[in-house]
Amino acid sequence: MRHFRTLLAHELRTALLSWNTWAAAGLFLALMGGIHFFALLEGSRIASERTPVEATLWFFWLPLLCVLPLLTMRSFAEERRSGTLSALLTTPASTAAVVWAKFLAAWTVWVTFWLLFTLFPLLVQQRLGTPGDTRLSDPSVLWGGLCFIAVSGLLHVSIGILCSCVTRSSALAALLAFISLLALTAAGGAMESLPVESWAWLGWLHEPAAHLRTFAHLQDFAGGILDSRPIVLYSTGTLLCLGLAVLAVEGQE
């Protein structure tokens, strides 16, 4: 545990001092700020059931695909390229401690980005909203959505970490993470839009496919519905990815 704490503190410090993190933060805030601005603009023109915050959160997949790979790509790939991972593994610290420390540091940064995003709706509410009126920024939708981001982020970040474990190239690790996250999100979206249950030969997929509906999970969380199934899905997926990451690191070293 002492090794894990030491490594986590080191990883957080490294993330804080890395230009990569600041570039990713800039890109994230620009993306989310832009999306929120247009959601507000759209909301002011057309009456919609969705609040601007909800509409903005619906685009969570954009920073997920564009920003998250930037955060995780260097975690192992860069260390393997420079050889510092081998040096790290000559200490009594276990591979699992190294993998978990890097994962938790990346997840913390990812969640911090989203916490920074909350400043946009909060500022809008403060400047333009009236007390008691939640049409501009509904706090329950905002915090529910952020809970979804935090829980699903466990799996998303662990996928990025796993992709970084299998290559020495940071660029390739980012590309692999992009493709994997796109497949996961698109699979969930496709399951929602396709009438899978009505197709006899794919009927058996209906039940397991229901668990992959990422946007439905977001809707549930934002609506205040706490369903244990997505939580189990994301946490077991995380454990699986991190377990594979440990094996990948041990296998290559």
Partner: protein, 329 residues
């Protein structure tokens, strides 16, 4: 840290270690040991399997078969336990470019289970020992010269006062002054910790090490003290003779003392004088009387000196020998 651990007979044990990459065998049936407090040179030509062996011993790579143990702890069964007793500096000494020396050593001390209250003291101590304290402590590792980077690597290896230190080419790329400094530092470890050191600079190994282990094509070809290996691998006795006589006259004179003597011409260094190498069998009594015998035979001598075989000659003799030949244990 491990003061209470009883001292085993061997600090490092490699027992029939084998590593295969598909059809390629990197090392095969490699067995040797390093006693506590002993400094051992690990030698072999490029590609002989030195780094592979060191990586297996350090727990950063697993062997295909065989047993590796550090201070009595199996590297395969208890890697963390073995790593607590050992420090390993890999050949290229990878270091994070964006950390400061003191900061890096502090991190490594924590990861190497140095007690929290001793971290600062140990970091200061190794920086002092490795001459980093005044000139490099606060500098970014990425801005350090090769010499200072090697010192950081060695300081890291000494941080937790391990029982065993494994150094893969610690002086590679250093200038003569830096090599001297590192050599003195390694020498100062004698009796305190077992050191396994690989180096291409044989003169340096000869000066620092108590024993050498020589491998070739992944197999052990010789191990032991330099003197013992000299007797085993280069048993004949040779002299360099500078004389005005020609080869035939010298050979004839030598045969009076030792009928099995051979004479080999060497490049002449002074005009008018010829230089030869005279070789005698290992146990020839003429070893003691050759100079007098040549004088009696009328050979005009300018210089006669016994050739002292160095580690380089031993290394060449050992690596020329087929690895399958019987070898020392």
């Amino acid at each position: 840290m491990n003061a209470a651990t009883p001292s085993p007979e061997a600090a490092v044990v490699a027992e029939r270690l084998t590593k295969r990459y598909g059809s390629l065998t990197a090392i095969e049936d490699l067995s040797f040991s390093v006693a506590p407090g002993e400094i051992v040179g690990f030698l072999g030509p490029n590609g002989a399997g030195k780094s592979t062996t060191m990586r297996i011993l350090s727990g950063t790579m697993s062997g295909t078969s065989g047993r590796a143990a550090i201070w009595g702890v199996s590297v395969a069964l208890d890697p963390a336990g073995a790593k607590r007793n050992m420090a390993y500096m890999p050949e290229n000494n990878p270091l994070p470019e964006d950390m400061r020396v003191e900061e890096y050593l502090t991190l490594r001390a924590k990861l190497k289970d140095v007690a929290s209250e001793r971290v600062s003291e140990r970091v200061d101590r190794v920086m002092e020992d490795c001459d980093l304290a005044r000139r490099a402590a606060g500098r970014l590792i990425g801005q350090l010269s090769k010499g200072f980077r090697q010192r950081v690597g060695i300081a890291d290896a000494l941080l937790a006062e391990p029982k065993v230190v494994i150094l893969d080419e610690p002086t590679i790329g250093l200038d003569p002054h830096q090599i001297l400094g590192i050599r003195d530092l390694i020498r100062s470890l004698r009796g305190k910790m077992a050191v396994l050191i690989s180096s291409h600079i044989l003169h340096e190994v000869e000066q620092v090490c108590d024993k050498v282990v020589i491998i070739n094509r992944g197999r052990l070809v010789a191990q032991g003290r330099t003197e013992d290996l000299r007797r085993e691998l280069l048993p004949d006795c040779s002299f360099t003779v500078t004389t005005r006589s020609d080869e035939a006259a010298l050979l004839s004179a030598c045969h009076r003392s030792e009928p099995a003597a051979t004479v080999t011409p060497l490049p002449a260094t002074t005009a008018g004088w010829n230089t030869f190498r005279v070789s005698l069998p290992a146990d020839s009594p003429a070893r003691e009387t050759l100079a007098a015998g040549l004088a009696i035979a009328g050979v005009s001598l300018r210089e006669i000196a016994e050739v002292r075989y160095g580690l380089e000659d031993i290394f060449l003799a050992a690596t020329r020998r087929a690895p399958t030949e019987p070898r020392r244990s």
